[in-house]
Assembly symmetry: D2
Homo-oligomer: 315 residues x 4
């Protein structure tokens, strides 16, 4: 369960045993063509832990919006808006990755920024092992140490921080993605923005491109080992919504964790001002744990794109 | 046709008369419930203009990816990957806006950055008229003048630039958007990333949130005129994928226009190196013309969300 | 559990306790807006019972087609092609019926034919109680007795029979259904043909209409208690794909149960001829047990149509 | 344009030139991968012809239901509920057939009944040419002559009749169709019931199966030229929602044409009784013209199923 490294003190001490129970689709160790249904039960869970939140609208949480939409709210831990929900995404993504392995496509995400500390990473050299050996899933050792120190400081303050995950997709064949409304980058953006706490997505040159000149940004085509390649890759591996065979890479911005150990002002259901006192178990920074979630959503999008593209070719 | 301001010399001198022909769905001035079908014919179009591109893969264009995917390519002007395609989005968005007007929802997009020049805008005071009075659709007059000068310089060089559009959605009721995979920000991100030349999307505090602390980022709830409101709006009007009644705002990064007047190196279909010579009619900066496209896609997403939310309420 | 009347000797003596476990969507006795997920575990199930079928292609079953499609087959009881699968349809339909009750729409299905014995039913007088009081769910007592006798005879022979279920939907408002490709009768036909063992569907005058003249078949409009009504109802309550406010009624043909107690010739996976010997527990006629399944699928289609129609009305 | 044989006096003397204008997706005679958009303009059309129907609800037409649903109605000829709409289905089906030709799948529909006159057809011997040589698209010459006589009689009376189209699909590979809710017969049923004037669909043994015994209906598997085949084909080529390699065949019931030359009683929008006088141009029997529409819808379903099945196979 990569969603739960639990290697540093900064991670939440919650010890949920994410056990997957497969309900259908597997027979004698093989998939049968039936839908794969699985279930992860919430084991480490006491209703009482959340009683003090029954009437409160926690700041920057979904308590108020769920109640505004549905007129009713299961207050025990955020319900569907809880990050617990992402456990099934990681499980689903793992299956998509098994499939992608056969196509050669490889997905590597890592922490590239926490607070103001930015990692310095050479994407050519990055390896899965380097990322996973780091407690914070940051392949730049120096930055990683600074991040660790920052998180320790924030923990003492009862505060939290945001960060950035960068995702790299290698060995993508040219031709994946559908043009116009379902461009590959549009599908990726939707999948990524559906992850809890994500506030931004940019691909290739991204927000940086706003400041660039066309002459700088031009990804000149050239031949490399008999294959069409590009000299630079500001496009981030996608042109006109379709993969061009170069690496796809994008950044994902995560806001700071909303649950604080420090006191917070807010209101309750009746509109009365209340003070929330920090309680329970929460992360200082969710970003290292978010790495496998970003990978999972990316794997699901690429597996879909791969199958859709294959289907379109009839010969 | 707001897609085509044509007010400054920086805009492309192409004079396409975007005439909409309605094919179905309207009878005696009213919609009939049948799908609204309409068509915009490409009038100002000479096949010959594109003959020199038949065999070329233009850098940072979709020539190569379309050919890789489909094995065939209509080389006359980019086909579906042309920005011409967005004309129908603006037309569709105009209909969505007519609908949204009845709900009170208002959408305002503007140019907030061109190259390195950033506009200084007070979102409380911004008005549609101020935006449209500006040739560059930038409500900050000082920045707008600098941008104009920058574009003139770039034009002389045969170069282009990127920029940023900011979009503001006002009077959104609480409750729009579906949780988990179809969060409102996820739908917006997909719609926006499906626009040509877009490289990034962020909402509320966006990429900035990565550097923030939880204590700074906390959108404290309070009562305002008997309504639940928030003191700050780092969430950008959406929490847990559902609108909370505050303004929705997001930024959209556009890469520089790929077609240059200056020469560019690239290859042709046979893999031979060639030099492309600038020719034809192209924008120095697409961002002012992109404003109504951003608004249109936003309007379509919000109209869908409004209807979907209403449908869920049965009483 | 109406799927399992178990009142007559003709029904299968299998005693599966269809216990529903709700996994999500309910909190303190109310739906929360989250998807209702539930699970019915197969309790009365011994893998060994099916061992003799591991290599066989049972005639008129899906053994061969599943293996042809997926290259692998879970031979224990038919898997997804088993009628056990319909238990979840009945559970889902029960929820749709709770919803429809608020709209006033009522669904009544009954057995109208078994083998060659046809029931004589006055649709104006039919009541839910009359149907459920009949062990065979046939409201015509005389026919019901004959059917019972027929089923006893067939049981002795180790044989089975087909039959027809008629479904009546009352108090449908005018306006449900979408025209052209998603006509209300088209949605009903798909839902019904997706039920195991169904071989035919016809609505209103149905196959009989092929022999009728236009002058006979004309559903003359008239006013009745200030409401638009029709003198006859050959249309079966739907015109141009949209409900007209009259009763919807349709017939559903079920083939005879394929599993026989008598011996059957067939082949196995290797293509060798084999003889299947009847064994285990099977119905002589599935039609009485199919009544709630037909109702459930009808309820799901009408609940969808009701919501879709409401959504289209914006005032 | 096979939808418009116009060979006999029984067909409507309307001379609409169904000219297809392709709007996108074709370049230099080849499809480009872009959606094929085409348009058939209604040429032979005078608004005035329909003025007398502006306020009337024609019996067994969709005038009333469209008005009940949308609150507005384009009275000129039925709008989307007109059989004119099916012209695009035939065009779309023609493209699906071009595709299916490469897979070997062949679709043959024919008139098997008009009024009470039933054709006697040997499905083994039926050929496309035999069907198309018949003015009524009925391959049984004797029945065809009787049908012709019947239609002449009805024409004199100003009356109309219904009929049945039988459709045969040959060379279907085993494995097409998705189980459970999207069974191949369910998709066919939906597509067929979406055709104007269709009141029934049955497949294989169909409604006849209700009267059959399991021992009669059992499609015994056997080997034939090294391939799995069945001795009988009561299943109609589909088992458990998946094609089994045998011929698919089904029947489609059409109601009589609703527009009569004889007078009809009905009401108008205000609820007042009125008499409609036959006027204009209408068919005595739509069934021969419906043959290519049934084929087209069948081709579209099978092309989808073929692609979906291929997509599922990854090796």
């Amino acid at each position: 369960d990569r969603r739960k490294p639990g290697k540093t003190e900064e991670s939440s001490p919650r010890k949920e045993q994410d056990k997957i129970e497969f309900l259908s689709g597997i027979f004698e160790g093989k998939t049968t063509g039936a839908p794969l249904a699985f279930m992860i039960r919430n084991r480490d869970f006491k209703s009482g832990d959340y009683d003090h939140l029954k009437e409160s609208y926690r700041p920057s949480h979904a308590d108020f919006t769920y109640e505004a939409k549905y007129g009713i709210r299961d207050h025990r831990g955020g319900g569907r808006s809880s990050a617990r929900e992402t456990a099934v995404r990681v499980a689903g993504g793992a299956i998509a990755k098994l499939f992608l392995r056969k196509t050669g496509i490889e997905i590597l995400a890592y922490v590239s920024q926490i607070g103001k500390i930015k990692a310095n990473v050479n994407v050519e050299e990055i390896r899965f092992e380097t990322i996973e050996h780091s407690a914070l899933r940051c392949p730049d050792k120096e930055a990683s140490n600074k991040m660790k120190f920052l998180l320790e400081e924030l923990k003492k303050e009862g505060d939290t921080t945001g960060g950035i995950v960068t995702c790299l997709v290698k060995n993508v064949p040219a031709g994946l993605g559908e043009p116009v409304y379902d461009k590959l980058e549009a599908e990726l953006a939707k999948a990524i923005l559906s992850i809890n706490a994500v506030k931004g997505f940019d691909i290739g040159s991204g927000f940086q491109s706003a400041e660039m000149k066309g002459s700088e940004h031009s990804d000149q085509f050239l031949m490399e080992n008999g294959k069409v390649s590009t000299k630079t890759n500001f496009s981030g591996g996608i042109q006109g919504g379709i993969s061009n065979g170069q690496d796809i890479y994008f950044r994902v911005a995560f806001k700071p964790v909303a649950t604080l150990m420090a006191d917070q002002q807010t209101i309750n259901k009746s509109g009365k001002s209340i003070t929330l006192h920090g309680k329970g178990r929460h992360d200082v920074c969710v970003v290292p744990r978010a790495v496998p979630i970003v990978e999972a959503m990316t794997a699901l999008v690429l597996a879909d794109a791969w199958l859709q593209n294959r289907c379109a070719k009839f010969n």
